[in-house]
Amino acid sequence: MLRLHELTMRFGALNAVDGVSLSVGEGERRALIGPNGAGKSTLFAMIAGALRPSGGTIEFDGQDVTGLPEHRRARRGIARTFQHSSLFAGLSCAENVALAVRARRGLGMRAWLGSGRNMDIKREVTGYLDLMELSEERPAGALSHGEARRLEVAMALAQQPRLLLLDEPAAGMSSAESARFAELIQNLDTTLLIVEHDLDVVFAVASHVTVLASGKVIADGSPAEIKASAEVERVYLGTAKEIWC
């Protein structure tokens, strides 16, 4: 469903992402992990359309979307959450999600809607908020960190994406919060691509894991395979065993 071919991003002399090829199948839950500076966020931004790649192609549903701007990709069914919660702080939780619902239904630029449609939207909004265990009327700016992360996901879900990109969704959560969060994610039936530092969350959620280091894919496999991989251990622990006596 998502196919990256030789995707590259250069910043000056640095190849932040260096010829990454990767495909994500329908219904897959793939996690991207790797040390800081491995290029995960850059890769993510390119898939979402916030960054234009310096080379390579991105195919979504068999069509080349490499040149499409972000909002057009969103309309084709790619939704993302942000590494640092990116909410409409002054608006209520319900309004945050409603913006997503109206965008998906193509109603965002209408001057006016009938009450029937409005009720319809409201029902849908309530559904997503319930799913993520949030209350409607609180302003997004007043949420706790964990709630804000969940609102991020609720908004992305409201886009009914075919592919959901989660960028470090559990960052800054307490262990209890992130465990509960992993449960909520596991119950979704969307194709997922998730970047996450918290490996407990990754192994709880992911069906496949891809490991990135210095902009390249160095391993790809099931969570069990990744845990057992010597190569992965090497990038996480340093270049060699030689530091151990």
Partner: protein
């Protein structure tokens, strides 16, 4: 020398440090290790006052630093080499070093001796330098403040192995300076540091001398590796 107790801080509503506590013996270099996102950068930023501590204490010698602003903390002799280096882009190497230089044993010439490749680029602006040169400049800028405590945040990030080696040699030569080194590159960390601390979810959970750490691969695997 440096005693950190029950330090908490974070950004906005998100708490990152949870009662972090550590001690730095005088004249020693301590490496702070941990997986991505556990709060290492927030820790050094809080020490420097770039992030305001919510509670807890940071004592440097007899001085309490928690609650002071960044400039006051700098005046107490703390310097930082930040992640991403953050050199002044429109200043030349020479200018950067000149405005950072204070009274003390570190002089601009001594910085050039430490990093000869920087001397060759003294007329170049910060944004014309390579990543390695920027790192050296950031270190030189910090050293010229003759710090009692030097904070280094991921100096090896994004640098070529040869450059990292050169950095490692330079940092190892700073024998006797009190250093906190945040690193992902274990090689560099064990080469430079006398002791090791590991951070998990905003707290320190492990401490050892570098020699002990090197005999204990299990600890590294537990705190830094992928397997669980």
């Amino acid at each position: 020398m440096l005693t950190v107790e029950a330090l908490t801080s974070g950004y906005g509503q998100g708490q990152v440090l949870h009662e972090a506590a550590m001690e730095l013996p005088p004249g020693k270099a301590v490496a702070v290790l941990g997986r991505n996102g556990v709060g290492k950068t927030t820790f050094v930023h809080t020490l420097m006052g770039l992030v305001k501590p919510w509670s807890g204490s940071i004592r440097l010698g007899d001085d309490e630093l928690a609650g002071l602003d960044t400039r006051q903390i700098a005046r107490h002799g703390v310097r930082i080499v930040p992640q991403g280096r953050r050199v002044y882009r429109s200043l030349t190497v020479e200018e950067t070093l000149a405005i950072s230089s204070g009274p003390g044993e570190w002089t601009i010439e001594r910085v050039y001796e430490l990093f000869p490749s920087l001397a060759a680029r003294r007329g170049h602006r910060g944004d014309q330098l390579s990543g390695g040169e920027q790192e050296m400049l950031a270190i030189g800028r910090a050293l010229l403040g003759n710090p009692r405590l030097l904070l280094l945040d991921e100096p090896s990030e994004g640098l070529a192995p040869l450059v990292v080696e050169e950095l490692g040699r330079a940092l190892s030569s700073l024998e006797g300076m009190s250093i906190i080194l945040v690193e992902q590159n274990l090689h560099l960390a064990v080469a430079v540091a006398d002791e090791v601390r590991c951070m998990v979810k905003g707290s320190f959970v492990y401490q050892a001398t570098t020699a002990e750490f090197r005999r204990d691969p299990a600890a590294a695997k537990e705190y830094l590796g992928v397997g669980s």
